[in-house]
């Protein structure tokens, strides 16, 4: 059996979703299901001009890797990819990508969900909103719903 491939990157640059799926699954004959999640920057009804993402270098990668390793073990994934961007991101642009590959679809869906739920509450990233009027610039508040989503896995 091939070993699980885990890829974690924290970067300012955009990523190519199709290329990442290919990198995870190319040459593998044990993978029957690949689920991808893409997180995008919303415009928030026309108010938002951009998000600024701050992160804790080193810990961000380490924490996402820990989450992916747990997902691989728990759902018997054949592979997991997580890429998270930092810096300024405009509405409509990609922020995060999670890919989970497994033998069957349920494990792949669950794996991707699990990684996202933990990533949102445990990976050290913070979003600051830049508004179009140029005056208000606020840090996004953590949502109880994200803690609830994470709690369903425990």
């Amino acid at each position: 059996m091939d070993s699980a491939l885990i890829t974690v990157r924290v970067q300012a640059d955009d990523f190519d979703t199709a290329a990442e799926i290919e990198a995870l699954s190319a040459g593998r004959t044990d993978i029957g299901a690949v689920v991808t999640f893409s997180g995008l920057c919303r415009e928030e009804k026309g108010q938002l001009s951009a998000l600024e993402l701050e992160h804790y270098p080193g810990m961000a990668e380490a924490e996402i890797r820990r989450i992916c390793e747990e997902a691989v073990a728990r759902f018997e994934l054949h592979g997991a990819t997580a890429i998270h961007r930092y810096g300024r991101i405009d509405p409509g642009h990609r922020i995060v990508l999670v890919i989970a590959a497994a033998t069957h679809r349920q494990a792949a869906f669950d794996g991707a969900s699990f990684i996202m739920d933990y990533l949102k509450t445990a990976a050290p990233f913070w979003k600051k909103e830049h508004l179009k009027d140029g005056t208000a610039r606020d840090w996004v508040s953590a949502k109880d719903a994200d803690d609830t989503a994470r709690a369903r896995w425990t």
């Binding site: 990533l119 979003k127 953590a142």
Partner: protein, 86 residues
Amino acid sequence: MREVRLVYFAWVRERIGVGEEMVSLPDTVVTAGDLIAFLKTRGEDYEAALEHENVIRVAIDQEHVEHDEPLGSAREIALFPPMTGG
């Protein structure tokens, strides 16, 4: 006394006014919670940043810990708000 590197993020960093600093800790500072209480005595900026102690998250050497965690021989301690990535 021992010296540790403290790093701050998001609004904790903004309110304290620096992203990182070296701080000498008295021997009475044993846990992460003790550290927060100690820092609040360092001035108004720290008090504003750490006012709501229970929402402040702590990482020791880049791993999440609870407030009752002993600092031990930590080299780098991070204080930050709840995370909002993804």
